[in-house]
Amino acid sequence: MEHLSDQELLEGLRNPESKNYYFNLLCRKFQERLYWHIRRIVLSHEDADDLLQETFIQSWQKIHTFEERSQLSTWLIRIATNKCLDFLKKKRRFFFIPLIDVEKNLEEILEADSYFDGDEAEKKFQKALLSLPEKQRIVFQMRYYEDLKFTEIADILSLSEGGVKSNYHLAQKKLKDFLVDD
């Protein structure tokens, strides 16, 4: 099923009789990549799990609007990214929590993540990432961890390519400063 092309998946999804089957294949093909994309942004597994399911639900509901101007994976990452940004926005708005608290909350999740136990360098890097403004952090993560092209990131975040590049370079510089100062 991994070898199914976007085109084959889309054809199957557009046919009401096979939509369920191909949707299952779509989930299996992209779930792991999308999971880690979301997890890097929201950090907690429970939130990532919920947002991933919501991403697939939205893709089920909106698949007929997909115009194939980008790859299917790019479209799905865009949905997932928007879900994450909405999630963080809602978290900030919830009971008027100020901006700093959400970042602090993410830092707490990071501290509690046993993956980083004993790996101080990695933890420090993750903390440095959290110190970045949200957009810069997401751009940097997409480029650094997911190896996405600037054009793809621009497409996902609805930014210009130049904007993405400048966000990435600013993020790089800030991370360097943060790690050197620390």
Binding site: F23, C27, R28, Q31, H45, Q53, S114
Partner: protein, 123 residues
């Protein structure tokens, strides 16, 4: 997924394989459930804001009795005047108060909970 990440994932949430195996089923299950009507979240935010302000105003606004008890007579007169939009009533009432200016009269009116129309009728 690197080995350490995988071990950590397994420790908390089961093996990644089983998690990803079950995920499409969970999504299908959610798709088949009827959509939950999230009524409060669909109401525009400004409606919430207005309701909240109205509630605060309601809670903060003192009762008429409390307001009247805590005010001196001049203010009570103004307060009672403000309760009607009939200019001639106000004038008549001012005349009445000026003519009969006594605490006892005003106290009586307040105690009897008379409104301006009743007062005018009594004039």
């Amino acid at each position: 997924m690197d080995h350490k990440r995988k071990a950590d994932f397994t420790k908390h949430f089961g093996t990644p394989e089983s998690y990803f195996e079950e995920l499409p089923g969970k999504v299908q299950e959610r798709l088949q459930k009827p959509a939950i009507r999230r009524f409060p979240l669909r109401v525009p935010r400004f409606v919430f804001a207005l309701s909240f302000l109205a509630l605060i105003a309601f809670l903060v606004k003192p009762s008429e009795e409390a307001l009247i008890e805590n005010l001196d007579n001049d203010v009570v007169v103004e307060y009672l005047m403000a309760r009607t939009d009939l200019a001639f009533v106000e004038e008549s009432y001012v005349d009445y108060v000026e003519l009969t200016e006594s605490d006892a009269t005003i106290d009586y009116l307040i105690q009897e909970n008379l409104d301006l129309n009743t007062i005018i009728k009594e004039l």
